[in-house]
């Protein structure tokens, strides 16, 4: 037992913690819900728990209950196909799933729990990669970021609530006695409405989110104290536009990943990071450039993937990222991921994965998925498909698009979608 209160939530505490849709839940509400879940887990002998929900109410009470009982917690994206959820439940012996209606599974315990938090990458065809973190490391990172200006802050939850960044925002609010504001409508207008209604003071989001958000926001709508950009490289023009719109706010851009945790944060308003941070320890983290790619050594790193043989951790203890780095003058810049990946607004899309999904749809005989660039989201997913002769192209196109929207994350859905007669094959035998 880690003991009640390690997470800092106490029954009877009326301080608000989460504003979701129109409901406001207090820290005490969470303590009570976590105690109830703890009792349920103890009664059923649960040492491996999963939360499968986008509602911060479910995520935070699951983290709290796992912490109180010392159980392992799997945080699953809601957009993962059921088959993958089932596979994780089976493989790791998850005994209870937290959702709107918590339910026990038929699995039995698989040995002693180690009190870890497992987060998943999104994967639609291949099984998701799972990275383990210790709650202590996550919490101490949140505490380290807790300067006085962040105390009692109201955070807009712009990130996927089950992702690393989303969880980090929620933990930061817990640690700093702040509030998480989660809108019902995850559109720019919906985010603005929720932010205004709850007097949000800090927003952590991708540069793409900011570009869209700046289009709906009007002067005086929000009184922001802290603005954080992450998930994709922050460009100078976006940083400048944010500074202009919110001259009073502190603007920070960070580099973080599921694998490495938060690596560095930059506060000087300039894109990139100081080149001197390479090879010298900064913020507890050491970085180097190897063959043009960023390598990281960090105490915040996960222990390694538990479900994948391709461990990104090198023999010498460094973590190899797929991010290319370029040094210009006194500044280092992240210039992009390895070339097979499409970066849509900070989310990685593997073209092969989407192609395989399209090829499984009725009537599709060939598919080519590729990135197209644009000034708003950096890249977008485009797809060309060849369909069986004799099918109605319009009807088939609609059916495939509907299947994409239903089964893929919204950033994975091809936005440019064409039915073509043939897909070019290069001499190498590769498409496009």
């Amino acid at each position: 037992m880690s003991g009640a209160g390690a997470f800092g939530l106490e029954a009877g505490d009326a301080t608000p913690l989460v504003a979701h849709a129109s409901a406001i839940l207090s820290r005490g509400d969470f303590a009570t819900a976590a105690e109830a879940l703890t009792a349920k887990m103890t009664a059923a002998g649960v040492s491996r728990l999963m939360v499968h929900s986008d509602n911060p109410f479910d995520i935070l009470r699951a983290i709290d209950a796992a912490n109180r009982t010392g159980a392992d917690l799997f945080i699953a994206h809601t957009n993962l196909p059921e088959t993958h959820i089932d596979a994780v439940v089976k493989k790791f012996g998850v005994q209870m799933i937290v959702a709107a209606n918590d339910r026990a599974t038929e699995e039995s315990a698989v040995g002693a729990a180690s009190g870890l938090i497992y987060m998943m990458t999104s994967g639609t065809t291949g099984a998701p990669k799972i990275a383990s973190h210790s709650l202590n490391a996550l919490m101490s990172r949140a505490k380290a970021a807790m300067h006085p200006g962040n105390r009692g802050a109201k955070w807009l939850l712009t990130y996927q609530p089950t992702g690393f960044a989303g969880v980090q925002v929620q933990l930061t609010a817990v640690v700093g006695r702040g509030v998480v504001v989660a809108p019902e409508q995850r559109t720019p207008a919906g985010f603005l409405e929720a932010a205004k209604a709850n007097g949000v003071t800090q927003i952590s989001a991708t540069p793409t989110f900011w570009r869209a958000f700046l289009m709906v926001i009007r002067p005086g709508d929000l009184n922001l104290r802290q603005i954080t950009l992450g998930g994709e490289a922050a460009d100078q023009s976006t940083l400048d536009r944010i500074k202009k719109a919110f001259p009073e706010a502190r603007v920070t851009h960070i580099y973080a990943s599921t694998e490495a945790g938060v690596v560095f944060s930059v506060h000087d308003g300039r894109e990139g990071f100081p080149a001197e941070w390479l090879e010298t320890e900064t913020q507890g983290v050491t970085m180097r450039v190897s063959d043009g790619f960023l390598h990281i050594r960090t105490p915040n790193a996960m222990g390694g993937y538990v479900s994948d043989t391709a461990q990104p951790k090198l023999d010498d203890g460094w973590l190899a990222t797929a991010d290319r780095v370029e040094i210009r003058g006194d500044r280092a810049f992240i210039v992009g991921r390895d070339d097979s990946t499409i970066n849509v607004a900070g989310s990685k899309v593997y073209p092969l994965m989407v192609e395989q999904f399209l090829l499984r749809q009725a009537g599709v005989i060939e598919a080519h998925v590729y990135g197209v660039s644009n000034p708003i989201s950096g890249q977008l997913v485009a797809a060309d498909v060849v369909i069986e002769p004799g099918l109605d192209p319009a009807a088939t196109r609609s059916a495939i698009l509907a299947a994409c929207r239903e089964n893929l994350a919204q950033y994975q859905v091809p936005r440019a979608f064409k039915v073509v007669d043939a897909i070019a094959v290069r001499e190498s035998g590769k498409k496009g």
Partner: protein, 81 residues
């Protein structure tokens, strides 16, 4: 292309996007805010709209960097020549 012609193109592209999403058509006018909630599109749809406009109109007003816009009319102005 004149501003009015670009506006027509924007309307056509947005209506097709809504149709693709299985969402009902929207009334689109010069002062309609693209992400203001009146039209059911997200920022990735908007990104695609900008890309398609470049193809249709033949130039990219964002080539030198991002320019602020909010309404359909403001976007049309950026592409009009």
């Amino acid at each position: 292309m004149t501003e009015a012609q670009v506006l027509e193109q924007i309307t056509a592209i947005v209506q097709r996007m809504l149709e693709d999403k299985g969402v009902k058509a929207a009334t689109i006018e010069a002062d309609t805010e693209l992400l203001g909630g009146a039209i059911n599109i997200d920022s990735l749809d908007l990104a695609m709209l900008v890309r398609e406009l470049e193809d249709v109109v033949g130039h990219d007003p964002f080539a030198e960097g991002f320019i602020e816009f909010r309404t359909v009319g403001e976007l049309a102005k950026l592409y009009a020549k």
